[in-house]
Symmetry: C2
Subunit: 762 residues, 2 copies
């Protein structure tokens, strides 16, 4: 086929014509392109990234949220943000840090007794089985206060935070071993292991770095600090790490910068850290046999520091588990190839990316061939003895991930603002693409596993500058999606990050994630067990003891039980609420005036809130998730009586304002509403709705609501029989409320069936 | 042109051919459509929403973040999230609630002395001039603890929080008058105005609602509480409000629910609030002459309650500034038409949407024609006397906004999960579209101003259910973008909200926003004035008094001055840092181990952090924004010495490890680097770079860096002259660091010019 002239053929007008069957298409594709100034290349990129309503993304990305303290979840190729998971920073929408259950998780992260209400998250790691993602857990570090958090991917909640017992800084975590036995966290800025003052003059002697190996108990889904240990290292600012794979699985690799051990002092007229820490041409790659280290700990060869197992440098050297290899200075990223045979290290201030051979490293170790020792007695393997090859990729090479093709690697070039695609076997550049601007890490699909899937690459850029509509001096970050499925890389999409500064991200095939949609009724999600405070419908209660009130309540469309809580000034009050809903996405919230509480009660969850009722007054509470048409009416009052309050003689209470006529009118309306519901139900049941799981779920929910309606109807009828028209009318109204909820759900189901083109079966 | 067969013409293959000039297009558009299962309709929607790299969105949306406590900013049509502005909830990325300046803003929002660390934001309002958006300020309410926040759109920061002095709940804010004289905030759940206990038996007599009118001083950009006032109202659960426009500009309209004054009690076997609050067929629209109310306050006719001006119901009735009109029950939204002639009110539990005529309301008031009075003596205008028309739009009508066409309105239908487009003059439905699922508010471009721009509509849906990849029991919300520019509305895009539950949003033409990109050097952004702690380069200092240390420091690529801070246990320490950068997007951060601090220092900003150094030890600090290649080296140490610490005899300090050879080698490298820089500069200056403002800015920044390089070079040369090779080598290294920064910037500028097709001029 010969090349055709765009304008002459007017291809896009034809394209437009083809969709004129619908009146809606007042504009053709050509019109839209002209109006919006789009090129053909833009349309292709749009087509590669657009995900229509109700369709799913192919990959799910977990990105660190930087100093926001969160983990960010988004979809590829649409680049739509799906969730910010609160990890180190309290976040009220999720109730995180506002309910007692999650406050307990955050409190695990206290630093020397102080509450820290943020984190500087850097490197997320997905749990692996045999070197491949299994979709079960996510781990993330905090650089500012060295901690690791465990996130359960069954409900996307943070379950645990562990504090590093010997470091006071940690950039290089989290990375997992091939079967997630351990999560590594390396120190960054060296400090004394003890929590005490040591003058900087003793930096070389008393400040230390190291690598902590956190033991992960898969069955419990928790890190076990007692079974974890640290391999001490010199004060070299250890940086990123990676575990080996396959042949190198028993080893881990950690690079470093500032092996000059410079201690700054610009305020005294000395050159700053940035000069002193980048004066030498090389830093050190730390090579550790972690499996043997774990055995040494079991064998009692570790020292207890701060009640934590530490393998000293002396022991590590003696036992042959720690080696150093020179690497190009100020590197960022030590990345093991999918086959586990090579370790790729880039020096940000060197144009070379080095490919170290695991086999050569082992040969040197076996042969005892070292070029010397560092000042701490650690054997140094000569760079030339360990190198497979080096590649000159460009300015500021930083981080490497791998593609699906043989020997395919992608490396970010910070100073050049580019991504290089290259062959790590041959050390040969294949392709380059410009990004915008100053890329830090990059990420390919499953790019740090044994089986990279290729397809897409995300450039995690540190500057956005002119890419987006301006939003003040603080800019969003920019994640750029790049298509790597073809010979030439192509830029598909620019995604601004609205909150936080991501550093690294991992992308997993969406099919591997199987999150739940509801909890077992009465579940404490943070402890992952039935809550001792779970409550069933109709079993709500208030337990009062002198000076103490405990509420075991429930929430369901559209009321909170109890609606009135009376306590006395000074009472110690705890409110436990269980969401009785089974329906997907029927979360309720709970906010109470003046007491700094917001609970997020997803279907089945039980959450608690504790406070001292220190001031007499009237405190409204309500549901904070727009859950139903009667959401605004989902309210209540907490009343705090002054101490020694003298109850006035109870007033008559509310006046009866409803009559038999009101009751009759409501019943008539309910009967009409029932007719509508019956029609909707008839539509649904006359179609193959059983083939649509989400409609089956909606029908279950609607049935629940209609059962509630029957209960209210029974109460209304009973009140009417006693000629209590006030209550008869109100319960008849409640009966109708449930009908409305059922109708709402039914209409959603009907619309869904129509949209999906369900077949009529009856 | 006749309709052509899709397959036969193979239009899309041709389309593909047209882009084969580039090797990159291994797939044609047809290939992509087939692979991804996209329809022609999908491609059109993709083309209407895709914004290529570097291009801008047409509209900017400010959405409430619900119980996240933030305001969410995104672009239309791309639906990309641009920023979460922290308002009521501390947010570390922005340093909000972590620096002293923003802590002071949050502390303004304390409730009866208690710190509240979240908000339940509902309704954002953009400042207006003559009834049109002016792009200067944004206001947002907190429902949980009735507060209003002021956000400055020059830098997208929260500047002020005011606490409502008489309410304990407030859903219906913020809405502004035509020239932003006042911001309205109505009560929701009635409570006593006084902060004291009043039994629920006295609900009718002592619980009250109302509408607060906050006075906004445009010149100061702040609400002035002393000039604000409240119009007291019966305990009817006041809900949303709107100010009049044009002819009705002096009036405001506030609807309500639960005018039954039901007080709940499900735990006592009574029907719940949802039944008791929806028993009557109508609630009340409150009609207030706010301009006259403001005059009454000036005339001293207000009562002081909690030191705040309150116009009692009695005064309001006597002075003729408050009227009621029945409205369909449980409404949500009282929306004034662009011409100010009508008020549209929908009852969620009624299928009717009512259009009230302002003229008819005024006629009834003038004529003294009322159907009666409510129990509080407020005149009630008969619904029939005030109605212009009613329209039966569907189930659960909720909120209305306006289009660019004559009499064009859009109303959300919660139960039907639809949007109705209708004619409010004729009361006639024009079109309907299904959304997914259960829409709350909706929003059109400038849709609540005098001049709606139409084009796009956003459906703010309360449930997402099956729309996105699952992320656990807590789902994202779903904002659906709908094209309303044609006769039939069409769905363009589903956007998940990753954090918070938005309730309402406002969309402004992006051209109206003119945010700054840097602060004046040494700026306290929260107080909007020069910081008393601003510091210039070279003027950094540490002020020590017994028990007190104050640091006046700076940050710039890539060092913090000072790098070493020594204090004594128990010292009261304050650190003020000024970002010396002028370059766009060159934000630095500051985190310190163990002290719960993260500063966000945008270019020019001065921020402060205060703490008590209560534990001896070593505390690393560092920059938390990846600002440059030497970012990791942008570090320092805070050393806290124990009280009465005996200084050991100072050790020799660092050993000189660099020689003349090191210095010479570095200088040689620097000269080579300078050659590269010169080439890049030659490229830039040989093109018409002056025509690209962002390149001009980059060149300024690069010039700054090269000047810094010269300073370092001078120091290096001076040290070399003294044969101090240690410092000579290190300063030569620093000289090179600045060269690398200049090169980085220059390469970005060069790439930009190439991308933009700049012309060679020399």
């Amino acid at each position: 086929m010969k090349r055709l002239n765009w304008d002459k053929v007017a291809v896009l007008s034809l394209f437009g014509l083809l969709i004129t069957e619908a009146v809606w298409a007042a504009e053709t594709l050509q019109d839209v392109m002209t109006r919006r100034g789009l090129t053909e290349k833009d349309i292709l990129a749009a087509a590669k990234t657009y995900v229509p309503s109700g369709k799913r993304d192919e990959y799910i990305v977990f990105s660190s949220g930087g100093q926001s303290g969160h983990v960010i979840v988004y979809g590829i190729p649409s680049m739509r943000l799906l969730k910010y998971i609160a990890v180190f920073t309290p976040e009220p929408w999720q109730g995180y840090g506002f309910d007692e259950e999650s406050k307990a998780v955050l409190a695990q992260g206290n630093i020397q007794g102080k509450a820290i209400t943020y984190g500087d998250t850097h490197h997320p790691a997905l749990s692996e089985t045999n070197g491949e993602y299994d979709g079960e857990y996510l781990f993330i570090n905090d650089k500012a206060n060295p901690r690791i958090a465990v996130i359960d991917l069954h409900d996307f909640e943070t379950k645990q935070i562990v504090v590093n017992p010997v470091f006071k800084s940690s950039h290089g975590g989290a990375f997992v071993s091939e079967n997630t036995e351990y999560i590594i966290e390396s120190a960054q800025y060296a400090t004394p292991y003890e929590n005490e003052y040591v003058p900087l003059e003793q930096f070389n002697e008393r400040y230390r770095g190291g690598m902590t190996y956190w033991y992960f108990d898969r069955a419990k889904g928790r890190i076990i600090p007692e079974q974890s240990f640290t391999v001490m290292a010199p004060p070299y600012s250890q940086d990123l790490s990676d575990f080996g794979k396959g042949p190198s699985a028993d080893w881990s690799f950690t690079n470093s910068f500032c092996s000059e051990r410079y201690v700054g002092g610009i305020e005294q007229g000395k050159p700053p850290f940035e000069a002193g820490c980048s004066a030498k041409d090389t830093d050190f790659l730390h090579v550790v046999n972690w499996r043997k280290a774990a055995e040494l700990v079991k064998a009692g060869k570790a020292t207890l520091i701060n009640n934590h197992h530490v393998i000293t440098i002396e022991t590590a050297v003696k036992e042959g588990i720690l080696y150093l290899i020179p690497e190009a200075k100020s590197p960022h990223g030590a990345d093991v190839t999918p086959d586990g045979r090579y370790i790729v290290v880039s020096g940000k201030l060197d144009t070379h990316t080095s490919v170290y051979s695991f086999e050569k490293i082992q040969q040197a170790i076996s042969a005892g061939k070292f070029e010397g020792k560092d000042p701490y007695g650690i054997p140094i393997i000569a760079m030339t003895d360990a190198l497979h090859t080096q590649a000159e990729l460009g300015l500021g090479p930083l981080h490497t991930q791998f593609g699906a093709r043989k020997c395919e690697a992608f490396t970010s070039l910070y100073v050049d603002s580019m991504v290089a695609r290259w062959d790590y076997c041959e050390g040969k550049v294949l392709d380059k693409i410009a990004i915008h601007y100053n890329i830090g890490h990059l990420m390919t699909m499953h790019g740090d596993t044994k089986k990279p899937e290729g397809k897409y690459l995300v450039a995690l850029n540190k500057l956005a500058i002119d890419r987006f509509n301006p939003v003040g001096p603080l800019h969003p970050q920019n994640h750029q999606l790049i298509d790597i499925s073809n010979e030439k890389m192509t830029l598909l999409y620019d995604m601004p990050l609205p909150l936080g500064e991501p550093h690294y991200a991992v992308g997993i095939n969406a099919n591997l994630l199987k999150p739940i949609i509801r909890y077992k009724s009465g579940w404490d999600s943070r402890a992952n067990q039935a809550s001792p405070y779970k409550t069933l419908a109709g079993r709500e209660k208030t337990v009062k003891e002198p000076g103490k009130v405990e509420i075991l309540g429930t929430v369901i469309r559209s009321h909170i039980t109890p609606e009135i809580i009376e306590v006395t000034e000074g009472d110690d009050v705890t409110i436990h609420l269980t969401n009785l809903e089974r329906a997907q996405d029927e979360t309720h919230g709970f906010a109470l005036y003046g007491q700094n509480v917001n609970l997020s009660l997803e279907p089945g969850k039980t959450s608690s809130f504790h406070f001292i009722a220190d001031k007499p007054g009237v405190y409204p509470y309500y549901c904070t998730e727009f859950c139903s048409a009667l959401h605004l009416e989902m309210q209540g009052y907490l009343l705090v009586k002054p101490k020694n309050y003298q109850e006035a003689a109870k007033q008559a209470g509310e006046t009866a304002i409803y009559t038999k006529a009101d009751y009759d009118k409501q019943v008539e309306k309910n009967q009409a509403t029932q007719t509508t519901i019956d029609q909707v139900v008839a539509f649904i049941t006359s179609h193959n709705y059983q083939e649509f799981p989400s409609v089956v779920a909606l029908m279950e929910d609607a049935t629940d609501q209609l059962n509630f309606a029957k209960e209210a109807q029974t109460k209304a009828t009973a009140a009417a029989a006693k000629e209590d028209w006030q209550n008869a009318a109100l319960w008849a109204g409640q009966w109708w409320q449930y009908q409305v909820k059922a109708a709402d759900i039914g209409l959603r189901a009907k619309a869904y069936l129509e949209q999906q083109g369900a077949n009529k079966t009856k």
